[in-house]
């Protein structure tokens, strides 16, 4: 399983067969099984009971699986969310270290009971309020579990909390998004999406919007983004992987720097551009990310072929 590559994480509702049964054919890197805001209160119980089988269904095409639980029902949701095959628990509207610690302890107990190596399941605090944003450092350092910073400082809930109307043509989250991303990066934690791209229509189903978002994130060095509609999957999956040109350039930089090093030098030029250890490390990062993406794509292709074969033979 390759969980590191999460170029596009798409929310799916386990209670809707139309979405959950088709998810594996759509090519996403990650599907987030939602028990939170896309599930009606009266449907929560049924949704919980569907999580385990939904993990199998949604991962058939090689995607990783996350589960988004409810802030008010952490204790009730986690026993239905922590299973083998789940890579990450997403904890919405997180505002304090104590909330992280609480979730961590329950997940640890469930891992032990269910034969999952302790600490294997990652925990993502979703920052969706002003209080969560200003407390980002204590939240990310609350416990030893592998943490990802997810949903950093913007979005619907932040709009509600700040009392703003979303989808203006300027960046309404200049401070909280930057502060949360910087907080994560200062701890060596990869951050997800968070570059402002105007979307005054507010629509979440337009692939040209997804292309623009992918370009902006890619330029900012962010590899991970979320989606609410399948139209976003392909633009994000291809747009957040390095391009052929970038890979070619990175290979040349690494080669040139190695050559410089052999000659006892630490700085040179290539096509008129300065090559130094920063360029070298950036190039190595590009190649590393390209290899991870390629591995994920191969893994997904094999899984998809198997699932399609099984589907036909049925």
């Amino acid at each position: 399983m390759n969980n590191r590559v999460a170029r596009c994480s798409m929310f799916v509702t386990p209670t809707n067969p139309r979405f959950i049964d088709k998810a594996w054919t759509r090519g996403g890197d990650v599907y987030i099984l939602d028990i939170e805001d896309s599930i009606a209160p009266a449907e929560k119980e049924r949704c919980r009971s569907l999580i385990r089988e939904s993990i199998q269904k949604a991962s058939k095409g090689g995607a990783s699986i996350y589960v988004r639980i409810n802030k008010p029902f952490v204790d009730a949701d986690l026993p239905y969310a922590v299973w083998p095959g789940v890579a990450r628990i997403m904890r919405p509207k997180t505002e304090s270290a104590a909330e992280m610690q609480h979730a961590h302890e329950i997940i640890s107990r469930l891992e032990k009971e269910r034969g999952i190596p302790e600490g294997e399941i990652e925990l993502s605090p979703m920052i969706e309020s002003a209080l969560g944003a200003v407390n980002i450092h204590e939240i990310l350092t609350a416990n030893p579990r592998k943490i990802w910073s997810q949903g950093g400082g913007g979005g619907y809930d932040m709009a509600v909390n700040l009392g703003i109307e979303m989808f203006a043509d300027f960046d309404q989250y200049a401070f909280p998004v930057a502060y949360v991303a910087l907080g994560a990066m200062s701890l060596g934690i990869e951050a997800t999406g968070g570059v402002f791209v105007p979307n005054p229509s507010g629509r979440v189903d337009q692939s040209d919007q997804a292309v623009k978002q992918a370009e902006a994130l890619h330029a900012a060095g962010i590899h991970h983004a979320g989606a609410l509609h399948p139209a976003f999957i392909q633009p994000l999956v291809s747009g957040l992987a390095p391009t052929e040109d970038e890979i070619t350039w990175a290979n040349r930089v690494v080669e040139e720097y190695d050559r410089l090093a052999d000659a006892g030098e630490s700085i040179g030029t290539l096509d008129g551009k300065v090559i130094d250890k920063y360029e070298y490390e950036f190039a190595r990062g590009t190649l590393d990310w390209a290899a991870a993406c390629a591995a994920k794509d191969r893994y997904k292709a094999r899984a998809l072929a198997r699932a399609q074969a099984a589907n036909v033979s049925r």
Binding site: I39, D157, V204
Partner: protein, 314 residues
């Protein structure tokens, strides 16, 4: 999140009036501002404290005649003496100018404790509104916000802040130079359940009188950034601020539709239903309800002021 009213106060328009203005009462009454901030000058060579003590109670009454909340602006570095001379029953709180750290708030709050007791004001009722005009004040804004339960609002004195940052206090740039700082103060204020006041660039940095249409756009942008009101340099701004720092008639109609469509969806077991390609789910529904409540409170505030205006002058 959002158990408390949003925004905390209906305080869309604030105007500063001088205690020395012979037309203080008339101006306050005619302004229709939600809040009046009283300013005073400490005349050298006079017993300014004694003079203020004699004048304040009547001035507060004058300023409040049109139904506005009344505040008095005091300097943080000389707060003790100034609070002693200006705090009387009838003010809602003080605007503390030039706050640089939590210590400033602690000191002022302690003085207010004593004054509330000695002058027959309900304990803990006086608000402290923070006016920031230095880099230190911005940097320490979170500890300032957390220093006292009295903290109500944050505002940047942008002209003075620009001076402190070594920036030209004029709108000479294509972009908003204080975008991050404004967003920070909004986030910090919201994180403690308070709110921030301010205007969008370039009107935030110019005293130039602009047409009503431009002013409306500027207020809209300020509101979309998260500000809940603005200090008005001209009385002509007040009407536009009162109308703009609240949900508009079109928004109210839309939120009513959201609540209706969402409730219909819930009946069919769907917690996520589309209106024109936008997904209506729990947070969107919650926002619609909060905004309707906000609109109702703004309406109630307008009626309160109308009632005050209908009362014959005593």
């Amino acid at each position: 999140m959002n158990e408390k009213p949003m925004p905390k106060y209906i305080r869309r328009s604030l105007i500063s009036l001088s205690l020395d203005d012979p037309q203080l009462g008339e101006k306050a009454y005619a302004s229709w501002a939600d809040a009046i901030i009283l300013d005073f000058v400490r005349k050298p060579g006079t017993d300014w404290q004694k003079e203020l003590l004699a004048r304040m109670p009547a001035a507060i009454g004058e300023a409040a005649r049109g139904g506005a909340e009344v505040f008095v602006r005091v300097n943080s570095d000389t707060a003790a003496a100034e609070l002693e001379a200006t705090v009387f029953s009838g003010i809602a709180g003080v605007v503390l100018k030039g706050v640089n750290g939590a210590e400033d708030i602690a000191k002022a709050s302690e003085r207010l404790d004593a004054l509330e007791e000695s002058r027959g004001i309900a304990a803990g009722s006086l608000e402290i509104d923070v006016e920031v005009n230095t880099a230190a004040g911005v940097w320490n804004s979170l500890e300032i916000a957390r220093a006292s339960r009295r903290i109500g609002t944050f505002t940047a004195n942008e002209h003075e802040l620009c001076r402190d940052l070594g920036m030209l206090p004029e709108p000479v740039l294509e972009f908003e130079p204080l975008e991050y700082i404004k967003s920070q103060l909004i986030t910090v204020a919201t994180s403690v359940g308070g709110q921030a006041h301010g205007m969008s660039y370039p009107l935030s940095l110019t005293q130039k009188n602009v047409g009503e249409e431009d002013l409306r756009k500027a207020v809209r942008r300020a509101r979309d950034t998260g500000f809940k009101g603005a200090v008005c340099p001209h009385a002509s701004w007040i009407k536009v601020c009162n109308e703009g720092f609240r949900p508009s008639a079109e928004e109210i109609a839309y939120y009513r539709k959201v609540i209706e469509v969402f409730a219909e969806g819930l009946k069919r077991g769907m917690a996520s239903v589309p209106i024109d390609g936008k997904m209506i789910d729990v947070p969107v529904d919650l926002r619609a309800k909060l905004y309707l409540e906000w609109a109702n409170r703004a309406q109630a505030r307008d009626e309160e002021k109308a009632k005050a205006h209908a009362r014959p002058a005593s």
